[in-house]
Amino acid sequence: MPNVIIDKDRCKGCELCVHACPQKVLEMSKDLNVKGYFYSKPVHPHKCIGCTMCAMMCPDTAIKVEVYGTRYRYFAY
């Protein structure tokens, strides 16, 4: 199962990852991070397929993706 890890205090709350995720894994938080932004968090981690599209879209390198076993890819990166 893939593991998507978001560094919440690095996040600027732009929501680009939320729109990029094909599996609707991510949502914005209700509380604020250290910078004062609502941050992105994986609320349905079990749906994650490790495609890394959220991380590709993130302008602030706040997302790290880890996988066990098979990796699904929509296209080469």
């Binding site: 593991n3 690095r10 600027k12 709350g13 732009c14 929501e15 680009l16 729109h19 990029a20 932004y37 490790g50 890394t52 599209m53 991380a55 590709m56 879209m57 993130c58 302008p59 602030d60 390198t61 997302i63 790290k64 993706v65 880890e66 996988v67 066990y68 990796r71 929509y74 296209f75 080469a76 990166y77």
Partner: protein, 247 residues
């Protein structure tokens, strides 16, 4: 457990000063990933622009020189000609490259300098507060074109990639976009190819990246990516405009 995506080594851990959702951050990461993949971190020198990316050397873990406004291709020419063993690239915005620096980029390309240019086209002057750029779209509202760009008054936006592709000197000229993950992956391919041509000593290379400036466009970051897709892609078609193999 394998990490399949994380911050590239050629970038520092420093958080950037860019506005939320600004694609400058994506462009930095793509360049850093390419530098990592080609293993050229220790022999790469970047030339920073004047514009929002003026502090890029705080984020990229390679040597850097600050160019004066628009003159990055001239500084890069000096570095590359005196040390051809180094990999030299400039990172420039559209105000920097297409306006005040229009002469430098045209002549660097025409001389066929073996440098790589990463050109961020966000259709506006970001750093100075959203003034009209040479690349601002017809009808687009900016602080200096509050009624929208009037093409009868100041002409149409410059298509830098097409313009440079008309030069006879061989070059690699591409336009990509950063509005969604697929296009980001394509942009990375183009940047990698550009650096490869430089490493082979083949040609001048420029990758134009259509980018967003959510702050000065007055949109949310996601709306900005959609605005780019609906408006900029029509005026600025994506593709490879020239390769060194062309006649």
């Amino acid at each position: 457990m394998v990490t399949i995506f994380t911050r590239p080594d050629s970038m520092f851990d420093t958080p950037t000063h860019y506005c939320p959702g600004c694609t400058h951050g994506v462009a930095h990461r793509l360049v850093a990933e390419v530098i990592d993949e080609l293993g050229i971190k220790d022999k790469t020198v970047g030339v920073a622009p004047v514009g929002c990316a003026v502090l890029i050397y705080n984020y990229m873990n390679t040597d850097f020189v600050e160019g004066s406004h628009g003159r990055a291709p001239a500084s890069a020419t000096g570095i590359k000609r005196s040390r051809p063993d180094l990999v030299v690239y400039t990172y420039q915005g559209d105000g920097d490259l297409a306006s005040i620096g229009a002469a430098e980029i045209v002549h660097a390309a025409n001389r066929g300098e073996k440098i790589t240019v990463v050109f961020i086209n966000n259709a506006i002057y970001g750093m100075t507060g959203g003034q009209m750029a040479p690349t601002t779209l017809p009808g687009q509202k900016t602080t200096t074109s509050p009624k929208g760009r009037d093409v009868n008054h100041i002409g149409y936006p410059i298509r830098m990639a097409e313009l440079l592709a008309t030069l006879k000197t061989p070059g690699y000229i591409v336009r990509s976009s950063l509005h969604d993950p697929y296009h980001i992956a394509m942009a990375k391919k183009a940047i990698k190819q550009a650096f490869i041509y430089q490493l082979e000593g083949k040609a001048f290379s420029m990758v134009e990246l259509l980018s967003t400036c959510p702050t000065n466009w007055g949109m949310t970051p996601y709306q900005a990516t959609q605005w780019l897709k609906e408006n900029m892609l029509q005026y600025y078609p994506l593709g490879v405009f020239k390769t060194p193999e062309d006649e």
